[in-house]
Subunit: 333 residues, 2 copies
DNA sequence: CCGCAGAGTGCAATCGATTACGCAAAGCTT
DNA sequence: AAGCTTTGCGTAATCGATTGCACTCTGCGG
């Protein structure tokens, strides 16, 4: 094993002390120009690279950011992780990933580990709208933390997410325009902030549109919920003109299962999704969906986080990114 | 900020030296039973937790494993990451995740960073069947490394993946049984080992089944490839009895786009997928697909890796896990 | 009663980098 | 030319845990 080059070796080879070598490389202290050049040259030749661990011990900073998501298996979160990872790498940070599987205990355990590992910051999609708050507050007091997509309280820590109000309004106006007068909402329960917000947004906005509203169906954001909702809808007998789903997975699960029941979308029923995942745009019918600007959300969140990491003590911020509507086949007949 | 408790503080509180405190907590050295009890009690009371960074510096071991995947956005890889992460946590390791986006340069950059960060091991899905070999060999000489799903040479480092030969045979026999006599393969190009292996497996096995074979369509493993293949198939004019797809995404993209062309699966054409992602089982028609036992693959891979981490110098191993066939609607009329 | 084994601890070095402090030499001022 | 500032660099402390070596003390055989 080629034994990693240490600063000591570079210093020796350059004929200076470790202190000078360190300063020459970091460049932020007064060192003679020739010395800097010399040290840099030697370092390059020897292939020297700082040991991040030694540096972390000394500095108390790891240049690692931890991220916790509820289910990496959900393509939306996968894309979110991708975007976050991209932003972090751009800024020279690594990503430590953990999956809470939606469990509070696991979530708080991972948070603790992140704390012990002295990550510089944490990006979290809280698993519970309220019960995640305790652990978040505790860890957030020590380490910069940003909530993304979901929140456990916007006063708790910086938050970046989509504006669900706008999203639902876009979907509702769209189906209204397409003639839908009776609607059913299929979304997630009140465990997550998105679940609550989207439902509330639907509930409020739908009044404005003055249409008939059927009993909502609420589970989680998964395909399974969509499928179960399809069964329920069919069992009810009378189909609404349109279903507003709170996620693409729900919409896809719904459309798929409806088809098994002989109900075709958009022929018998219009459906809109939420998220704008890649997936929703390739299957037939393509989904009319509220597109979340994932890259923008990730960029904002990492922006917040890194400014905190850099020491900002600005008041807690909360940013809502406006979604757009992508019209696809599921509402076009 | 509650200033993390250090070993020194525990030692002081317990009236012993740091050395003794360390030994008492690690338990593997001779320390009087009372002392051990005392130190443990004090440590618990103070809420002491070792600083993983200090330990890492001293030990040269981080208890972190790095993982590189080509596209986290592909649900198959998302599930793989999930399974790997689960196995690692069980063993007390953290997961540092990186996405190579299928780019060689990025992949090798990430590998270097992992090396610098002194991860204890690396799990990689090599982005290129051959060109990934160099970087892998270099890093693998320093750090335990296991290839998963794809390989850049099974003699290079431990490898765990699915048995593609069996997988394709299962799919082929199945559609043959269902009466398909003319087939077309839609898969990935020769850039990845899975791409090559699945194509070769198809090519060899299809001979045995003695059927008519159309020009294959090869791109990558994505939805887009499936969609493009659908266009191509329709353009050719004559449809085969069945299409064997090399991934679920391909199959889904294909089915979706075919539908837009007015071609229904399974009515006009049978389709099989590969991977057994959750996704493939909820949409209509549900996919007949070769199911990869992802948990088993992950468990094997982490098993290999951790045995290396523990010091095993056994010869390079290569494990092939047998897939199973899940029959769904896409081949059932 | 001496000597030796071995249990139980502590001292101090170590991992590799960063940095406060101090010293020497060079540059400037009057 | 004496006195001061500035520049450049080295010494050593520091981050927190682990561990080789050495020391003390008890117990037991001879």
């Amino acid at each position: 094993m080629p034994h990693a080059v240490t600063l000591q070796e570079v210093a020796d080879a350059a004929g200076v002390s470790v202190a000078t070598a360190s300063r020459a490389l970091s460049g932020k202290n007064r060192v003679a120009a020739d010395t800097v050049a010399k040290v840099r040259a030697v370092a390059a030749e020897l292939g020297y690279r700082v040991d991040p661990i030694a540096r972390a011990l000394r500095e108390g900073s790891t240049r690692i950011v931890g991220m916790i998501v509820p289910v990496i298996g959900n393509p939306y979160f996968a894309q979110l992780v991708d975007a976050v990872e991209h932003e972090l790498h751009r800024a020279g940070f690594e990503l430590l990933l953990a999956d809470s599987h939606g469990e509070l205990a696991e979530e708080s355990r991972r948070l603790t580990v992140f704390g012990d590992r002295k990550v510089d910051g944490i990006v979290i999609v809280p698993s519970h709208r309220q019960r995640s708050a305790g652990a978040l507050r505790a860890v957030g007091a020590e380490i910069p933390l940003v909530q993304i997509d979901r929140s456990a309280g916007v006063s708790l820590a910086d938050y970046v997410g989509v504006d669900n109000e706008i999203g639902l309004a876009l979907a509702l106006e769209h189906v209204h325009e397409r003639g839908a007068r009776s609607l059913v909402y299929v979304g997630a329960d009140d465990v997550t902030s998105s679940g609550v917000e989207r439902w509330n947004a639907f509930d409020r906005t739908v009044d404005r549109e003055a249409v008939a509203v059927g009993e909502p169906f609420r589970g989680d954001f998964s395909l399974a919920t969509g499928a179960a909702a399809a069964d329920a809808l069919v069992a009810r007998g009378e189909l609404p003109d349109a279903v507003i789903a709170a996620s693409d997975l729900i919409a896809l699960g719904l459309i798929g299962r409806l088809r098994e029941h002989g109900v075709e979308v958009p022929r018998d029923l219009l459906v809109t999704g939420f998220d704008g995942t890649e997936l929703s745009q390739v299957l037939a019918p393509t989904l009319t969906t509220v597109v979340q600007p994932i890259e923008a959300v990730a960029a904002d969140a990492i922006g917040f986080l890194l400014s905190r990491v850099a020491g900002s003590t600005a008041p807690v911020r909360s940013s809502r990114v406006a979604p757009t509507l992508l019209v696809g086949g599921s509402t076009t007949r």
